[in-house]
């Protein structure tokens, strides 16, 4: 209903007072955050601080126990039908790629176009080939994912998200399962997307990417947002002890 009211200055993602429990354990504690259109938000923080949980709450892979999430003016609710429609517009890239190993690279990129968007085979393949070109591996179209290197697989995963023409892409540590020499080929693709104005939420500790692309950095600890600001503010002049401690550990 509020779709029509969506305007250019309405945030793309608005997270308000979100909490998430696993049993008695509070993984997210009253988190609020907004992501503007075209903004690249980076989330950093120690292991177990709730970064993945927050990301997964955005597209309801985890359903929050409290609070609300609004994406492009649409309230994300657990009801299947609406949720599927929203998820189709919110891409997600996983640490372990999660390509479908029984489908070729091309089929991986076409599956959701055909089954969710109902686009034709030829149409979806055209889109898929275009995207493979964009991520720099057009020659791998007919291979099965396990045959590709980690960096190539992650680029296919990004292409698979892009095929749905998402409004936002969520990245959960997209380079941390990669061998060092493959990290840059993935980051380069992400940089291109950022420059093209894609709204991105990225959980990552890649400082180079943060400096080049992030508009906002959020530092999380213990399920809460401890500090947020521009990369210069958070990395250059952290205000909180916990942030300083964390940064001293990842920068060395």
């Amino acid at each position: 209903m509020s779709t029509k009211l969506a305007t250019a200055n309405q945030p793309m993602i608005s997270i308000s007072n979100v909490s998430k429990f696993f049993g008695d354990f509070r993984a997210l504690d009253d988190v609020s955050l907004t992501v503007d259109r075209g903004e690249v938000l980076m989330i950093v923080g120690p292991s177990g601080s709730g970064k993945s949980t927050l990301l997964r709450c955005i597209n309801h892979l985890e359903v929050p126990d409290a609070g609300e999430i609004i994406i492009d003016g649409k309230h994300v609710k657990p009801q299947e039908r609406e949720l599927n429609a929203i998820r189709a517009e919110v891409g997600m890239v996983f640490q372990r790629f999660e390509l479908f190993p029984h489908l070729t690279v091309l089929e991986n990129i076409c599956l959701a176009q055909q089954k969710v968007r109902k686009s034709s085979r030829s149409e979806s393949e055209k889109v898929a080939r275009g995207l493979l070109e964009k991520v720099g591996i057009p020659e791998q179209a007919n291979k099965y994912p396990p045959k590709l290197s980690g960096g190539q697989q992650q680029r296919v995963a990004i292409a698979r998200s892009l095929a749905m023409q998402p409004k936002v892409i969520l990245f959960d540590e997209p380079t941390s399962a990669l061998d060092p020499e493959m990290i840059n080929e993935v980051l380069d693709v992400m940089l291109t997307l950022a420059r093209e104005g894609m709204t991105m939420v990225v959980v990552s500790h890649e400082m180079g990417f943060a400096r080049k692309a992030a508009h906002q950095v959020v530092f999380m600890d213990g399920g809460t947002i401890v500090e947020q600001g521009t990369p210069e503010q958070v990395f250059g002049a952290p205000q909180h002890e916990r942030t300083k401690l964390f940064l001293s550990r990842i920068l060395h």
Binding site: F94, R96, E98, V116, K147, A177
Partner: protein, 267 residues
């Protein structure tokens, strides 16, 4: 974190083609020789030839009962297996209850119970005349109902063997739960359970001998009938044994070949 990467190649076909007496399948040669010897006796000895031809009349029934039962049990087993992992409490409990019920009763007993108690009761309930349902149909119904429970457990294990991330990746693209199952989880699960399903096909083939107790004229029943008039126990039961051995061996080699072909196709 490189160790976390999925293996790029598993299940490579053996590249070493040289003869190795340690790994050579001597057992296969031995069983092959036994079968060949029986074949020789059947050709050269008229007594064996006659019995062989008698048993052969039941082969079609054995194969038909096995084939139809297996295909139907696959379908019912898949449905039960999906029910078994369903988030719907009712569906899940019905499936688990059914599976545990069947697995808690001997197959031979179930064949009697289903053929002479369940089928008549159900057909009366549906207003049909139970005497119109042939014994062979009852045998197939019994094998399907029994094996569906075993196959359901295979499918459950197969579905649960696929990592949660696959479902999440599919759902994050906007696929419904059913679509994710259909296009992402089940094809992978199916490939993983192929060897187990193959074993069950062989098991149904062997257990089809049990329906001889219903008087269905498959090879075991035909052999028993033949023996009751000829009294040639030794010849008859050796030949019957050779029949099953040949069929199970051929099936298992076929399945191994199929599996090797599938795994080398993809990975």
């Amino acid at each position: 974190m490189a160790a976390d990467l999925p293996p790029s190649t598993s299940l490579q076909p053996p590249t070493n083609k040289r003869f190795n007496w340690r790994t050579f399948p001597w057992w296969l040669v031995a069983i092959g020789l036994i079968i060949a010897y029986m074949g020789f006796r059947i050709i050269s000895d008229p007594a064996y030839t006659n019995i062989f031809e008698a048993i052969l009349t039941g082969l079609g029934t054995t194969l038909m009962v096995t084939g139809i039962s297996f295909i139907c049990a696959l379908i019912l087993g898949l449905l039960l297996g999906l029910g078994r992992v369903s988030r719907n409490v009712l569906l899940r409990n019905i499936s688990i209850g059914y599976i545990e019920f069947i697995r808690g009763v001997p197959i031979l007993v179930l064949i009697f119970t289903i053929s002479f108690a369940v089928v008549p009761a159900l057909s009366k309930g549906m207003g049909l005349d139970p005497s119109k349902i042939s014994l062979i149909a009852r045998a197939i119904i019994a094998l399907v109902l029994i094996y569906a429970a075993y196959i359901a457990e295979i499918f459950r294990a197969g579905i649960e063997s696929i990592s949660r991330g696959q479902m999440e990746a599919a759902r994050s693209l906007g696929l419904t739960h059913a679509q994710a199952m259909r296009y992402v989880i089940l094809p992978q699960a199916f490939r993983n359970v192929l060897p187990a399903l193959g074993n069950d096909l062989i098991a149904i083939l062997k257990d089809s001998s049990l329906v001889s107790v219903l008087g269905v004229r498959e090879i075991t029943q035909v052999s028993r009938l033949s023996v009751s008039s000829s009294f040639k126990y030794e010849e008859t039961y050796f030949i019957l044994t050779a029949f099953y051995l040949t069929m199970t061996l051929v099936l298992s080699l076929l399945l191994q070949w199929l599996q090797r072909k599938m795994s080398s196709n993809v990975h």
